[in-house]
């Protein structure tokens, strides 16, 4: 009788520990999946979507920065690479790529490019690299994920010009 109880307790602890670790590891994947397929369900894949200025009504992604203009592109490079082109107005601009585990596997900012735009070609890890011309080829660990463009709003009077630049950012296959 005691042996039965002991084994049940040991197996309950062992199974509980496995479920515990798997749950912790699944949380980022589930959250990113919700973001891509529910919060951004109206956004087309491989298309840049430009958000307006962040306010208290911006409630899709936690802790948004009101000093930034954001653009997002849900990527799916399972069949073809994705080209990302972002103009560089005279302010801080960065392009960050996230995999389905929420890891920021690549980022680049305006100070790291020679010309007046950031050009990337996103390819699936392990696939052959296309002729990207002047663009930087980036290998993504997962075939789906998110590209996030940030543009710093240096002052209110620069906002209109910045929005014009923001709208030129694109991603396309």
């Amino acid at each position: 009788m005691k042996k039965w109880i002991l084994w049940t307790a040991i197996l309950t602890l062992a199974f509980g520990s496995i479920v515990n670790v798997l749950t912790v590891m699944a949380i980022p994947v589930v959250i990113m999946n919700q973001l891509l397929n529910k919060s951004f369900k109206d956004y087309a894949w491989n298309t840049m979507v430009h958000s307006s200025v962040v306010t208290e009504n911006s409630r899709t992604v936690v802790r948004p920065s009101p000093d930034l203009l954001y653009s997002v592109c849900k990527y799916d490079i399972s069949e073809r690479p994705l080209r990302i082109t972002v103009p560089v107005p005279p302010t801080y601009v960065s392009v960050a790529c996230y995999d389905t585990n929420t890891d920021n596997f690549f980022h680049i900012n305006d100070r790291e490019v020679m010309n007046n735009q950031i050009e990337l070609v996103l390819v699936k890890k392990g696939s052959s690299h296309p002729d990207a011309g002047s663009a930087v080829v980036v290998e993504a660990p997962t075939s789906k994920g998110l590209v996030l463009v940030r543009m710093f709003i240096p002052s209110e009077d620069k906002l209109d010009d910045l929005i014009k630049a923001q709208k030129q950012a694109r991603c396309e296959q």
Partner: protein, 196 residues
Amino acid sequence: MRNRAKWLIAVLIVLIVGGTAGALTAFWEVDALWGMGRVKSGAWGTNFTFGGKDANPWVRAGVAVRGLLALTRTETVYFQPLTDSEGRALRTDCDYTIQGKGVDARWWSITVYGDDNFLIPNAQKRYAYTMNNIRYEDDGSFKIHLSRLPGDGNWLPLGEKTQDFSITLRLYNPGENVCLNPEKLDLPKITREACQ
């Protein structure tokens, strides 16, 4: 037959009790442990693995819940105070002063969030100050008032709802010293003034 029923009960206990306890404690752990590896500088703290592949599963899950789509430390460092400079929780029914100097970064900002991790609604639509729009004192320092009622100079409204709140200091393109000697950074002091 009796032996078979006994093992069936054992399997059910393992699956139901073990599975439920494992899943529930995971959420508690993420809440409690996502700050592990936190580097402190006064009341402020950060974790240099935020956003990166080197984050452990608890930190990664915590960032997904509380700071999704964070950049890695080479691009941005996010400092957050858990308390005021005297170790007390930050509450919207108290007034605070954030006083400090600029930090070694290409640009920085200080933003206030409610307990839901979103911007606090307020009539002024004011949620943050950056190094560009803050008003500095003659000696180059700055002072930000956090309160429900309007304050002089730089003022961030805490809204009408009584809740815990949090602050994020973002350092974009941080200087080398930020990651090498974070504990030596002269980050702003957060002083609690009157409470209602």
